[in-house]
C-alpha cells in the first residue's frame, strides 16, 4: 500500500492523565477504502485511541499524523442540553453546509428521514444513533471514525447499518476506524483488527487475531471461534427490514 493512501497514522501514541496511562504505545494506520476495527474490554482505551487519531487530545505521547481534513465522527456518547433546541435538520448542518437533498439522502440511508424535523431530545437511543451516523457520512468524509455506531439499534437495523458502513467505505473510498464490541457482525467487514488492553495486545487480519493467544486470554476460546467463523465472503446484503438481497 503506497503512503499516499494513508489517512491517519499513529506511531507509539499514548495518553497519560493524572499519572495514569489511559492507553500506551499504539501504532496503527487507516488507509483509504479500508476498515480498521478496535476491539477490547471496557476501559481498554478504545475511545481514547480514536480521539488521539482525531487530534482531540493535545498532550499526547508519541506521534499522530492526520493527512485529511474531511473527517466524520460518531462519538460514543453525546448529550444535548435541554436549553438548546435542536432539530435533526439543525444537527445535520452542524459542521458542514449541506444542501437539503444531501441531508435527505444521508438520513434515508440510515432510515430516519421521517425524523428530519423532530427535536433531538425526543428521539430514542437507536434513532439518535442513526442520526449521528447519517450526520457523519453526509459530508462524504475521507476518514470516518465510528465509536460504537450501532449501540441501542435493533438487531435487524444493526446488520443493515454495518452493511451500510461497509458499503460507504467502498463507495466513497474512505477509511474507517471502527470501535465495536460486536465481534459477530463486524469481523466479516473488517480488513484489520487491533485488539487493545491499555496497549496493543495484538493486531492483524481478523484471522490472525483470532489465532493469537493473548486475544484468546482476553476474550476466551468462544470469541476466538466466533471470529474465525465469520471469515467468509458475503454474497448478499440486507435492506432496512432485514430482507435479503443477492449481490
Amino acid at each position: 500500500m503506497s503512503s499516499e493512501n494513508i489517512l491517519v497514522k499513529l506511531d507509539k501514541a499514548g495518553l497519560k492523565q493524572n499519572n495514569k496511562w489511559l492507553v500506551k504505545g499504539v501504532t496503527l494506520q487507516v488507509e483509504k477504502g479500508k476498515i480498521v476495527t478496535l476491539i477490547g474490554p471496557n476501559g481498554s482505551g478504545k475511545s481514547t485511541t480514536a480521539k488521539i487519531a482525531l487530534g482531540i487530545y493535545k498532550n499526547i505521547d508519541g506521534n499522530v499524523e492526520k493527512y485529511t481534513k474531511k473527517v466524520g465522527y460518531v462519538p460514543q456518547k453525546i448529550s444535548i442540553d435541554w436549553t438548546l433546541p435542536l432539530r435533526v435538520n439543525d444537527f445535520m448542518l452542524l459542521t458542514e453546509n449541506l444542501k437539503d437533498d444531501e441531508i435527505n439522502n444521508a438520513l434515508s440511508l440510515t432510515g430516519v428521514v421521517h425524523l428530519k424535523n423532530k427535536n433531538l431530545g425526543t428521539l430514542s437511543g437507536g434513532e439518535f444513533q442513526r442520526v449521528l451516523l447519517a450526520r457523519a457520512i453526509s459530508k462524504k468524509p475521507d476518514l470516518l471514525v465510528l465509536d460504537e455506531p450501532v449501540q441501542g439499534v435493533d438487531f435487524t437495523g444493526e446488520i443493515a447499518l454495518y452493511e451500510l458502513i461497509k458499503d460507504i467505505s467502498e463507495k466513497l473510498n474512505c477509511g474507517i476506524l471502527l470501535i465495536s464490541h460486536d465481534l459477530h457482525t463486524v469481523m466479516s467487514a473488517t480488513d484489520h483488527v487491533v485488539c487493545l488492553n491499555g496497549h496493543v495486545c495484538c493486531s492483524g487480519s481478523p484471522k490472525d487475531v483470532a489465532r493469537n493467544n493473548e486475544y484468546k486470554a482476553l476474550f476466551g476460546e468462544q470469541a476466538s471461534q466466533t471470529l474465525s467463523l465469520y471469515e467468509h465472503k458475503h454474497d448478499h446484503t440486507h435492506d432496512h427490514d432485514g430482507e435479503i438481497k443477492k449481490n
Partner: protein, 267 residues
C-alpha cells in the same frame, strides 16, 4: 432628534438588545451566566481606570474585562478550585477592589447607583455611536465564528475532530462578551447586564424549537423589555436598568404559560 434624553436612551437600548439577544443564547447554552457576572463585576475596575486616567469608559471597561477573562482562563487551567468558586472569587474581589479604588478617588464624584444599575440620563451621542458601531462589530464577528462556536456548544469533541478549531472560537467569544459589557454598562449597569443576557434568552427557549428561532425570539424579547422598561421608567420615575430587567422577567413569566399549554397538549 438625539437632543431628547429619552430618545437617546431608546436608541441605545434597542442597540444593546439586538446584541444581547444572540450572545445571551450562547450564555444560556454554554452555562456562562456566572462567567458573565464575573466579567461585568470586573467592569467597575475598568470604570475607575477610565476616571483616573481621563479615558473613554467603554474602551477602558473592554480592556479590563478582557484582561480578567484571560486571567480566568489561565487560572482555570492551573488551580484545583471548582469553576464556580473561582468565578465567585474573581467576581466579588474585582467588585470590591473597584469600590475600594473609588473610595480613594475622593476628588471625583461617582454616581455609584448609576454604575451598578444603569443611568439613561448619562447616555450621550458618543455612547450611541459606541453602542451601534461596537454592537455591529460584535454581531459581525459572532456571525463569522458562528459555525465553530455553535458546533462546539453542541459537542466540543465533534467540533474539534471535524476540524472547526473550537478553542479559537471560544477565545473570540470571550472577547465579544467583554465588548458587550463595555457597550452596555451605561444602559443597564454592571449588576444587571447578565440579566439582560439570560432572561430574554430563557424566555425565547420556552417559545422555540430551533436555535435560529431562539436567537430571533431572544432579540425580540430584549427589544420589548427595553421598550416596556424605559417607558415605565419614564412613567413611574423608576431606575432604567431595573425597570428593563423587570420587564424581561414579566415576559419570561408570560412565556411559561406557553410551555404549560404545550405540555397539556402532549398529555
Amino acid at each position: 432628534m438625539f437632543d431628547d434624553f429619552f430618545i437617546r436612551a431608546l436608541v441605545a437600548g434597542i442597540g444593546v438588545a439586538i446584541v444581547t439577544g444572540p450572545l445571551g443564547c450562547f450564555v444560556v447554552w454554554r452555562r456562562l451566566s456566572y462567567f458573565g457576572d464575573t466579567l461585568a463585576h470586573s467592569a467597575l475596575l475598568g470604570v475607575t481606570m477610565a476616571y483616573s486616567f481621563q479615558f473613554n469608559i467603554a474602551i477602558s471597561v473592554f480592556l479590563i474585562s478582557s484582561l480578567i477573562a484571560l486571567i480566568l482562563i489561565k487560572l482555570q487551567k492551573r488551580t484545583n478550585l471548582p469553576g464556580d468558586a473561582l468565578l465567585g472569587l474573581l467576581a466579588h474581589s474585582s467588585l470590591a477592589v473597584g469600590l475600594v479604588v473609588i473610595g480613594f478617588l475622593t476628588f471625583i464624584r461617582f454616581d455609584i447607583m448609576g454604575l451598578l444599575f444603569g443611568d439613561i440620563l448619562a447616555v450621550n451621542v458618543t455612547d450611541l455611536l459606541i453602542i451601534w458601531f461596537g454592537g455591529g462589530l460584535i454581531l459581525l464577528v459572532l456571525k463569522i465564528i458562528w459555525k465553530p462556536l455553535f458546533a462546539s456548544t453542541v459537542n466540543y469533541e465533534l467540533a474539534e475532530a471535524e476540524g472547526l478549531n473550537p478553542d479559537r472560537a471560544k477565545a473570540i467569544f470571550t472577547i465579544l462578551m467583554a465588548a458587550l459589557i463595555a457597550i452596555s454598562i451605561k444602559m443597564v449597569g454592571l449588576l444587571l447586564i447578565t440579566g439582560m443576557l439570560i432572561i430574554p434568552a430563557a424566555m425565547a427557549r420556552n417559545l422555540s424549537d430551533s436555535p435560529f428561532k431562539m436567537v430571533l425570539f431572544s432579540i425580540i424579547g430584549g427589544l420589548l423589555s427595553v421598550l416596556i422598561g424605559l417607558f415605565s421608567s419614564l412613567e413611574f420615575n423608576t431606575p432604567s436598568g431595573p425597570s428593563i430587567i423587570a420587564a424581561a422577567l414579566f415576559l419570561f413569566i408570560l412565556s411559561l404559560f406557553r410551555i404549560k399549554q404545550s405540555i397539556q397538549l402532549k398529555n
